[in-house]
Amino acid sequence: MPSTAEVKERIERALPGATATVTDLTGGGDHLRAEVVYAGFSGLSRIQQHRLVYDVFEGEIGGEIHALSLKTEIPSFAATKENDG
């Protein structure tokens, strides 16, 4: 079962410049929550944002990782740009 540190590292490696905060919701290591801030989410729907993160763990969610709860965010500098005007 991947540790929270490992999950964080894998997300950050797959999404360059992303910051992931990973917590273990139950203490059992199989219900994890990741909050991911990534400029590359800009312009994507939530579904697409979550898919980017899920894709890092293809095949493991529902298996090794029973549940990975996600919250995705765009860093504020990117959001400001997007909403400008």
Partner: protein, 137 residues
């Protein structure tokens, strides 16, 4: 029932039911906290929806995830499109976007049709940056 029949049944449900929830258990007896939360949100939204329990046969989940490209359960579809799982549906419910997607409430501070829904401020509080821009002409 072979896999193809299962896949066809899932496709039919997604295409024909305007609001379709795939979950563990049933709305009356959910078998997972995440599925329970999404069905409670739909109940609270007052929308009519159909639900399919994925537990009776493991192939239902395999075929569903194959079709949707989404690994987890529950999965909510509206108008044939995947809206999301528990995290996304919860976030959208809290921001008011879900009512828009479901067509159950009027955004932009219009009085909610049902008296029990508090009227929302113009912009949803704490709306994340990826919210669609407010409709400013």
């Amino acid at each position: 029932m072979d896999n193809e029949q299962i896949r066809d049944e899932i496709k039919r449900a997604i295409d024909e039911e305007r609001v379709m929830l795939f979950m563990k258990g049933t709305p009356d007896m959910p078998r997972c906290g995440f599925s329970a939360r999404v069905s409670q949100i739909l109940n609270a939204s007052g929308v009519e929806y159909a639900a399919m329990d994925i537990l009776p046969d493991p192939r239902i989940r395999e075929e569903l995830s194959g079709l949707s490209g989404w690994p987890t359960i529950p999965q909510l579809f509206v108008g044939g499109e995947l809206v999301g799982g528990c995290d996304i549906v919860t976030e959208m419910f809290e921001s008011g976007e879900l009512a828009e997607t479901l067509g159950t409430g009027r955004p932009q501070g219009a009085e909610a049709a049902s008296g029990e829904q508090p009227s929302r401020p113009e912009a949803p509080r704490g709306a994340p940056a990826q919210s669609p821009p407010l409709q400013i002409e």
